[in-house]
Structure formats: structure tokens, C-alpha cells
């Protein structure tokens, strides 16, 4: 009996606390905002179906996997560096045509050598990553 009384008291206190919270939300305007937001959620619930959820989540997954790789420190720095270089190169302002002789001349430039060094390094790393994955994909398909 005393256990029932204390349960009732606890429930009564919880109801009072909930009512107080609702009054506060009503008075400061939050309840109205929540009600409006709820209609948007209701729209979402009516508009969505399983297929849409699966498609959206699938896309988010694939983008997330790419983003996961993209957020590695070296990758971010390299991407940022390449984007700065794209901006500096000013590609469309009177673009040069460089033939074999012109290319050989440009290779004497220290900055071009540095860029070429990066490209060679990148190609080596690309080759290693391709090897690693190609072996693994072959085994995964067996």
C-alpha cells in the first residue's frame, strides 16, 4: 500500500513537472515553434517511403566513405595546395601552347621540377595503391 502511495506521489510530481515545462514553453513561444516544426516532420513522414530512405542513406554512405579518405591530413593539404595552384596558374588568361622544345626549356625551371617531383611521387603511390587493391579485389571475387 505504501509502495502504491509513493508511486502515485512520484507520478503526480512528474505530471506537475511536465505541466510546468509546457507552460514555460508556451509562454516563451517555443511551443508554437515546436508545433510548426512538427508539421514539417509530419510532411516528411508522409512523403518518405522505404525506398527513398534507403537511396538517400546509400548515397550518404558512399559520399561518407570518400569524405573519410579525403579528410586525411596529407590529402587535405595536397588538395588545398592543388587548388591554390589552379588559381595561381590562371589557366584562361592567354594560355600558352608548349611543344617538345618549350617543355624541355620549362623543365629547367626549379618550380616546374618541384611540381614534376610531386607528380612522380604521386604516380608511385598510385601504383602501390592500385596493386594493394587489385590483389584484394581479385581475392574478394574468388
Amino acid at each position: 500500500m505504501s509502495e502504491d502511495m509513493s508511486d502515485l506521489e512520484a507520478e503526480s510530481e512528474a505530471i506537475q513537472d511536465a505541466a510546468d515545462a509546457m507552460v514555460e514553453l508556451q509562454q516563451d513561444g517555443t511551443l508554437e515553434d515546436l508545433t510548426e516544426a512538427a508539421t514539417a516532420i509530419s510532411l516528411l513522414a508522409d512523403a518518405l517511403d522505404d525506398e527513398m530512405v534507403v537511396e538517400a542513406a546509400g548515397l550518404a554512405n558512399e559520399l561518407g566513405l570518400v569524405a573519410g579518405s579525403a579528410t586525411q591530413t596529407n590529402t587535405i593539404r595536397t588538395l588545398a595546395t592543388m587548388m591554390d595552384a589552379m588559381d595561381e596558374a590562371d589557366t584562361f588568361d592567354d594560355p600558352e601552347k608548349v611543344g617538345m622544345v618549350g617543355a624541355a626549356r620549362k623543365l629547367r625551371d626549379d618550380d616546374v621540377k618541384r611540381g614534376l617531383g610531386f607528380l612522380m611521387n604521386f604516380l608511385g603511390a598510385l601504383g602501390r595503391q592500385i596493386d594493394r587493391r587489385a590483389d584484394a579485389y581479385e581475392q574478394a571475387e574468388e
Binding site: 513522414a45 542513406a57 546509400g58 554512405n61 566513405l65 573519410g68 579485389y137 581475392q139 574468388e142
Partner: protein, 379 residues
Amino acid sequence: MTDRIVIVGGGSGGTITANRLAEELEPEIEAGEVEITIVSDNPNHLYKPLYLYVPFGEATLEDTKRPLVDLVDRRVNLVFEHVTEIDTDGKQLAMANGEAMDYDYLVVATGAIPEPEETPGLGEDEPGHHFYGPDAATELREALANFDEGHLVLSVIGTPHVCPAAPVEFPMIADQWFRERGVREDIEITYTYPIQRLHGVRPTAEWMVPRFEERDIQTKTFFNVDNVEDGTIETLEGKELDFDMMIGVPEFTAASIIEEAGLGEEWMEVDRNTLESEHAEDVYGIGDVTNLPTSKAGSVAHYASGTLVSRLSSEVRGQTPTETFHGKTICFIEAGTEEGTFIEFAYDREPVVRDENRFLHWSKLGYNEAYWLTARGVM
């Protein structure tokens, strides 16, 4: 000197741990002070919770796997071999190709292996079906597609079993699936459980009672399946139950190398807070292979990996490990084909099952698609 961290097993526990270790120990790896290797006998990473959906045509086997190399940080070495022996004194693994691999720190993540063959009459080409493997799930898909009348029985045979929600979800999904196909009135569904309530997790059992009643799903408890004959289940209690289709949740076991290595008798015995082996130095366990006092669920491996990574990284750096795991577990539960709920608990927190709704069902479907981000260590 390079510290060699070897992880045996390329499932959820092993993959998430490897990725998080690679991120945490990036400076040490770049400096050549640490090497991380996953040894897996499967070049594919499997998301086994999707096997539940295969029999209902809601997922294909292709959806359940991805090449492990796609999900693992490039700094983690991959070796696709079967480990045949763990020598914890010599800190060495023996592999099926005859080669040996030394380690400084070992993480065992070999999972829980279904053993349908332990129950006579259960398995592929047997009277009793299951969905805890690709071939079995495919076979069940065909059987279910051609089932439009009779008595369907879902029996939980082994406890503990992986994925605590799946045996609850199967009859509820089946109920709604048969209704959508217009054949539910001609099908009787019965769910059986080996102990005196409907589920090992008490709040789940309590949640199930009214919901099974309103769906006209019959139940039998204290029902320990002994063998499955053609059309009849026989139990250890001497009971019999006739069926037209039977699906069993089989017994599960740890890989034999666990007991052979002295790491545990049934499951790998680890400290419930530190995940360190109770029997060997510098050895950790994660995931379904362990004897952690909680459900065998992927979420446990996910949350536990944070603690393992923190503690192992501290050891590598010569610091005192401080982080501890408190059993956080979360499981979605499908309540049919349109609504779902979830249960969350920890060692010191009782489970709470919320009322089911569409949003939680969509959350589960969404997570099924985005699970690979968890495996990759992104989410």
C-alpha cells in the same frame, strides 16, 4: 623497434578497431614505430544483420559484403589467411599457409560461428532452415517465397546467439509480409524460446508479449530443441511440435583456436571493462568472441573499440591506460515491415524499449546502408 599490432578477424570488431588504431597512432605509424595488420580468412567484410532481410527479398547477398580493402585505412596491412594457432607465450600466430606471424600486441576479433549442425535436422538441405549464412539465407528465401499456408515455427535453439533482435524481428516481419501477400490467414506462426520467457533480455520479452498477441503469433517457452525431423520438432523436455516450415536460430561457438590457446573455455575470457585477456599478456578481445556480460551485438564491438584503442595506444606510448568500457549496447528492433524501435542499455543501466514508429524503422534501414561508414571508422 617497431611494435607489431596484429588483429585476427576482419569483421566489425576487427575492422573498426584497426581503423581507429590507424587514426590514433598515425604519427607512430608514419615514423615506422608501429605496424598494424589484420589477418582475416575472408577478403570480404560481411554485414551479417542483413541476412535477416534476404529471406524476405529485401536485401541481396551482394548487399551484405564489401571487399575488406575498401573499408580499411591504407596504413593497415591486410593478410588473407586462416589462423590455425595462437601461441600467447611466444607471441606468435601460425597460419594455414604454414607461415608464422609474430606480434607485440594481439587483438582477437574472430566472432561467433553458427553451428546449425549441432542440431540434427537444421541446416541447408535439412528440414529446418536458418538465415545465419549466405547459402542458408538464400535457401530460406526460396522456401518462404513458395510458402502460402501451414504452420511456420521460429525456434531459438542456442543462447547466447548473435544479434539479439533478429529472432524477435523474423516472426514480426513474416507476419506483416504474409499479410501484404494476402496469405496470413492461412498461416499459423509460432515462436519458441529455450528459457521461461520470450527473450533473454527481460524488457524485450515484456515488450514482445502484447505485440505477439495482437499479431496472433503463438509462443512456447522453456522449449529446448533437441532435433528437427521432417515435420516435427522434438525437445529436450520431451515435447513435440509439428510444423510445415521451421526456422531455427542455431547454437553459436567461438573459433576452436580460442580454447586451444587457453584464452577461454567457451568464449574468450576478457576483463569486462578493459577488454584485456584474463589469461595472456598484451592480448585483447573484442566483439562476439568475448564473454562480455551483454548481448552479442555489433554495437558492443563498436563502442568497445573506443576503449580498446585508447588502452592499446596508451600501452604503445608507454602511458598508463585509463579508459574503461561500461557495456554500452544498442539494437534496433523491426516490428514488422513498417515500424521499428530500439533498445539501449549498459552494464549499470537497465534496458528500455521504446514504442515502435516509422522513424525508427527508417533509422534502421538508413543505418543498414550507412553501416560501412562505421566499419571504416568514419561514423
